[in-house]
Amino acid sequence: MKYLSYPGCSLRSTGRAYEESIVAVFKALEIEYEELKDWNCCGATSYVSIDETDAFALAARNLALAELQVAEGTINLIAPCSACYLVLSKTERYLEDYPDVRTNVNAKLDKAGLHYNGRVEVRHPLDVLVNDYGLEKISKRVKYPLKGLKVASYYGCQVVRPFAKFDHSHYPVTMDKLVQALGAEPVDWPLKTRCCGGSLTGTTQEAGLRLNRLLLKEAQKRGADIMLTCCPLCQHNLECYQERINRIYQEEIDIPVAYFTQLIGVALGLSEKELGMQRLFKKPSLEKFMHPKGEMAHA
């Protein structure tokens, strides 16, 4: 199966490490994909609260472009950012379920010489890697099983809600299974899908920091060595405000936060550069957990 990828704005700015690690991992696993040509901003979650039809039209332009790029069949469009994934999924669903939305949006697309026919299925890279490619195959390709590494998987609120396409909306386990396939140990915690505050850290910072504090504190309390995210904004929030949270709330939080694709890359033996590890503020020290396959048996 060949995929189309939709990087979205974040992956070209604060989330560059996410895209770099996706590219590296897909290449290493020989998953073929090509980038959606001439893609535009998905509108994020804010535009839809201003003008629903315009917001759908903006997002649907990407879906229509995908159909232009791939002549026939169902198109699997990969959207790694949670907000992009949610907005594109929502657009796809609304255009499918509500004929009036479809008519209005297509009328707008028509002006640009575009039309959407409903062939796109929006996918998240976590879903693609675990459910299409498969955990067994990933496991086989692992060069450095991350034995003993305790990982708190953090899904955030948008990937499985409200469209629980590939996992349970309240208690997802996909990333935890992946962590196991990499040889590491998932930390079971009940805050997997609790909100990180999203853009509140930039607007009503106190509210945003409070939410991040709860997540970071609990992950650390449960003995996690690292937190994994699948969203650029979650990663940014959780990683960048730790010092400020410590100062305001007198906490001692100190935990690296990486993208799940970065951890896959490390286990596959890809270089730090390829995975964009140098872009993280808190570089996780994973060397002590990396045991080349086979070595364990000799030890």
């Binding site: 349970h168 309240h170 915690w189 009940p190 805050l191």
Partner: protein, 670 residues
């Protein structure tokens, strides 16, 4: 019967009913009567205020004699309401009742139209269609079948038990088949019953032993129905009796074998205690199990697994009742009626992972708590949690797997009341603080609301709000080591975190997991959620669409004990009605195969929804069992050689009806 062609001239009597104002206020009944008078074959055409009244019926009978009428049409209400009335009237007048035809101008015309003129024209069209149709009507005979007086009851819970005793006490022979090794069902597992708080076992076990000892009841436990043949009044049932590896005639239930089993401790989760305790490979479900006969679980028994057991159980049994070579046995019985009381299944709490069942040891289902507070339960009635603690605070979460779009949409009806009961029992056993998290308290039943009031007086806390999650996520030091229930308290509009030691999930009621298989076996229907479908939700709540098969208890929908017992009584009464009538009249609208035209292609066999068609292998022709045929017409339409016809719906009748209907319709060219 279809060959009795009437050669005499057709003489039609047409009667249009005012139905008070119901019809006459919209349809100009005089004009319709006047119009019908002009149609060929019509001898009498008149209107009357209430055709279904005695004078109305007598009018028909008088005209049959005076005018030698041989076809009768009444234009009034729906045939569902009065077809039988008028057919009987026609028969009393000396005519075969199937020369009667009904035209519905109330539900189909006056109640649904506002334009009087158009309604009158439509009534004329419908009347004309009937006039043309009755030319082809034939005299038909009603078939009667005898009802075998014995009854099969499937399921030995409280509903099955009650139905069995009701029938047996009235002198009918009953076969009660139960899949588990004992009867008693879910009720036997309960501690006390709401709202009276009398002990479930105390009121149930006397009935269980009555079943066992009743001369009119044949009780087969650890047995399942595997085949159902026949039709109302004449069912042939095959029952599989699973081997207990114990000779039922010899065992007296002394349980010496259990004590002497090579296993000193049980290792298999005990089904009766919902896995809260362990049982041995040779066991009896519970002390009052009925019949009081042990059984051996071959999955757990060493002798079955390796053949190298010391067989201390055999030595211990001085009645020599243990038989490792016992085989499954098939029984065949004949019955006239069947009552299905197959019960329900509790919702699997693991389907809502955010409530932590199976993850946090101190999260329990309501059924587990019933066993936990029971004096004969795994802890002897002492409330000890899985981690050995005694709870000081308990949270009961209502509507788990009920009233939820993501799981089951229906209200399980019993959970509010049993949650209140459990709250009372938990307080009584532990003096713990008990919190109920509810959406609405549904206490609709005799003395139910009063019971709720009593609980409020007992200082049980009620928080209105659906629980978001149960977790071990402690934010404050007071929450450490506790389970935290997070819920919006919609009475005060804030999100609350209540730390508790024990969580009880009030799981809802679901159809049995194999309800679809049972449905197919007995050829009845299920509603969309999988509960057995009643013939009419209000007026035929225990009948099914298959004659002679009745349903009772929670297999029809969530129900508490009083309602299950009431339904069981109703189902027994329905079965008795059939049995005491002795025979049943069958509507003659059945299909039949014109043997010369049948090519024996089998098309009809596969599509008949009632399994009414079989193939005569010698003649290579299809044959329709009139007692099973419901007159749906599917085979008539499907037969590629047009060899199947249906009484009252033969082609010429339908085509002349259509012709009559369309005769005055202007042809629109396009």
């Amino acid at each position: 019967m279809h060959n009795y062609e009437q050669k005499e001239a057709v003489r039609i009597g047409f009667y249009i009913c005012h139905c008070g104002h119901n019809i006459a206020s919209i349809v100009d009944v005089k004009a319709v009567a006047e119009y019908v008078k002009s149609l060929p074959g019509v001898v009498v055409s008149c209107e009357y205020k209430y055709m279904c009244s005695d004078p109305g019926q007598e009018l028909i009978q008088k005209d049959i004699h005076e005018h030698s009428l041989n076809r009768i049409i009444v234009a009034s209400c729906s045939p569902l309401l009065h077809e039988h009335t008028f057919r009987t009237a026609v028969e009393k007048g000396g005519l075969n009742p199937y020369y009667f035809q009904m035209v519905n101008i109330r539900e189909d015309v006056s109640w649904v139209h506002t334009d009087a003129k158009a309604a009158t024209e439509k009534s004329k069209d419908l009347a004309r269609a009937a006039v043309q149709r009755v030319f082809h009507h034939k005299a038909l005979e009603t078939k009667h079948v005898k009802i075998h007086p014995d009854v099969l009851i499937v399921g030995g819970g409280i509903a099955g038990i009650h139905a069995a005793l009701t029938l047996a006490n009235s002198g009918k022979k009953v076969f009660l088949v139960e899949r588990q090794p004992t009867i008693g069902g879910h009720m036997a597992m309960f501690d006390k019953t709401f709202p009276t708080l009398d002990c479930a076992a105390c009121i149930l076990t006397p009935k269980m032993s009555q079943v066992k000892n009743h001369p009119n009841i044949t009780l087969w436990t650890y047995s399942e129905v595997t085949k159902v043949d026949g039709y109302v009044g004449n069912y042939k049932i095959t029952i599989k009796r699973k081997p207990r590896y114990i000779n039922e005639e010899l065992c007296v239930g002394c349980m010496d074998c259990i004590e002497k089993c090579v296993y000193k401790e049980g290792k298999t989760p005990d089904e009766f205690n919902v896995g809260l305790s362990k049982r041995k490979p040779v066991y009896i479900p519970f002390p009052q199990a009925t019949p009081q006969i042990v059984l051996i679980d071959p999955e757990a028994c060493i002798e079955f697994k390796s053949g190298r057991c010391k067989k201390t159980c055999v030595e211990a049994c001085d009645r020599k009742a243990i038989d490792f070579n016992q085989k499954e046995e098939m029984k065949e019985i004949e019955v006239g009626t069947i009552i299905l009381a197959t019960g329900y299944h509790t919702f699997d709490a693991k389907r809502v992972p955010f409530y932590g069942y199976g993850k946090y040891p101190n999260v329990y289902t309501s059924l587990e708590v019933e066993r936990l507070v029971n004096a004969s339960g795994p802890t002897g009635g002492e409330l000890i949690l899985r981690d050995g603690r005694h709870p000081k605070t308990v949270g009961i979460i209502h509507c788990v797997g009920s009233r939820d779009k993501n799981t089951n949409r229906w209200c399980s009806r019993t959970c509010c009341m049993y949650s209140l009961k459990l709250a009372h029992l938990l307080k009584e056993h532990t003096e713990a603080e008990v919190y109920n998290f509810y959406i609405d308290i549904r206490a609709a039943g005799k003395s139910y609301e009063e019971f709720y009031d009593k609980l409020l007086d007992e200082n049980v806390h009620f928080i209105r709000g659906r629980v978001a999650e149960v977790s071990d996520w402690a934010v404050r030091s007071s929450e450490e080591g506790k389970l935290i229930i997070r819920a919006e308290d919609t009475m005060i509009g804030i999100v609350r975190r209540i730390p508790v030691d024990m969580v009880v999930l009030a799981v809802g009621m679901e159809p049995q997991s194999d309800s679809q298989d049972v449905r197919r076996l007995f050829n009845i229907s299920c509603s969309t959620e999988g509960f057995f479908l009643e013939r009419h939700p209000k007026l035929a709540p225990v009948d099914t669409f298959t004659d002679g098969i009745f349903i009772a208890g929670a297999c029809q929908g969530p129900k508490d004990i009083p309602d299950s017992v009431a339904q069981a009584g109703a189902a027994a009464a329905q079965a008795l009605t059939l049995i005491d009538t002795g025979e049943i009249e069958l509507e003659p609208n059945t299909a039949f195969v014109v043997q010369d035209d049948c090519s024996g292609c089998r098309t009809c066999l596969t599509i008949c929804p009632y399994n009414a068609i079989s193939r005569d292998e010698a003649k290579q022709k299809a044959f329709i069992n009139e007692a099973l045929c419901k007159g749906c017409g599917t085979c008539v339409a499907a037969c590629p050689s047009g060899a199947i016809k249906q009484n009252l719906f033969e082609d010429e009748m339908i085509f002349s009806e259509i012709n009559g209907l369309l005769e005055n319709t202007p042809v629109v060219c396009c």
